[in-house]
Symmetry: C2
Subunit: 203 residues, 2 copies
């Protein structure tokens, strides 16, 4: 399907996604979205009543995409170490293709914390922990991962993957100055991060 074959609503949505990710809610302009979609401003309001509605639609789609990435880890029939390697490889690869998502998400959650709170309140965290615990009881004990320090561990893994993209302009400038390349750094990080974490938890 080529760009011009797409239905108007979809073209608007895609254009809005680009602009909101690029500029954020406050910086985005309806005129800019209309231009990229190849239509006029009035049509935006015909399909999505207000800028706020349009933004919400885009935000929900993107947040959904992010959360979906965490799912397979609980399904796959792998050891805990394999799951950690699998997650980091998959997640960093996903962010390589969507490098601006971290700063978009991290910015908008601060502008409107309630939006993300409602999404999270729908998740049954106890059930997730019980699943993890039953699948990896021995390994969790051996690695000293408990329900109490799980947030420390999970945010460490998430930060390993997300932070380099969130701080990309800083890191890329430093790499440039050292004669290195940001893309190589990211590619290498899939393995580095996994090794680092495994090393840290193995006694």
């Amino acid at each position: 399907m080529t760009e011009t074959d797409k239905q108007t609503e979809e073209r608007i949505f895609d254009a809005a996604t680009e602009v909101f990710i690029e500029k954020g809610m406050d910086g985005a302009r309806m005129q800019d979205i209309a231009d990229r979609a190849g239509i006029n401003k009035a049509l935006l309001h015909y399909y999505y009543r207000t800028k706020d509605h349009l933004f919400n639609a885009v935000y929900e789609m993107i947040a959904g995409q992010m959360f979906k990435k965490f799912g397979p880890v609980l399904d796959e029939n792998l050891t805990l170490e394999q799951k950690i390697r699998f997650f980091l490889r998959e997640h960093i690869t996903f962010l390589q293709k969507n490098p601006k998502l971290p700063s978009f998400i991290l910015n908008e959650i601060h502008r409107n914390p309630d939006r993300i709170r409602k999404l999270i309140q729908r998740i049954d965290i106890n059930k997730l922990w019980n699943t993890l615990e039953s699948q990896h009881r021995e390994e969790l004990k051996r690695y000293n991962i408990t329900k109490e320090n799980l947030p420390q561990f999970m945010t460490t893994i998430a930060g390993m993957s997300v932070f380099p993209f969130a701080a990309k302009p800083i890191i890329a400038s430093i790499m440039e100055k050292m004669g290195y390349n940001f893309d190589d750094y990211i590619e290498h990080r899939k393995e580095y991060a996994a090794d680092f974490i495994i090393n840290a938890i193995i006694k």
Copy 2:
């Protein structure tokens, strides 16, 4: 010195800092800044010609504050392990007092990457590496830290400290749901992060 004793220019600057950190460049309103400073909009333009000038002044001050935190590590007469523990404790403590700086910085560097590039181009990274290398030759070798993988290592440490604050609304929601407390999680992280990193590099 009480709030009312402060000179007007300083009151404007402080109010602007608050508002820009809270709302970002695009979301900030000159009226809001004037109200918090207890003066009227015209005075903002008298002291700082435009919104852009005012923002730049605030941004430079904050970026400077962040970079200053990295300095003492090269001066202190400590082992590498002690420096890692020292840095994480100090940096996380600094962010406890300024929890919104990470999202502010990480957001604005994407909106205007050139601003941070210019700051970084002024730093002599080779000299920093040479200093580090001469101070800790043995330890760096033992821990397998080279000039090539230094960016991986440094961004891992930085992410350990910064990411929890950048993702605070998400993490706090999850903690809340588990019956835990975000502030306790942060306090505990000073030690957890240091232990984790030391464990990872010690063979």
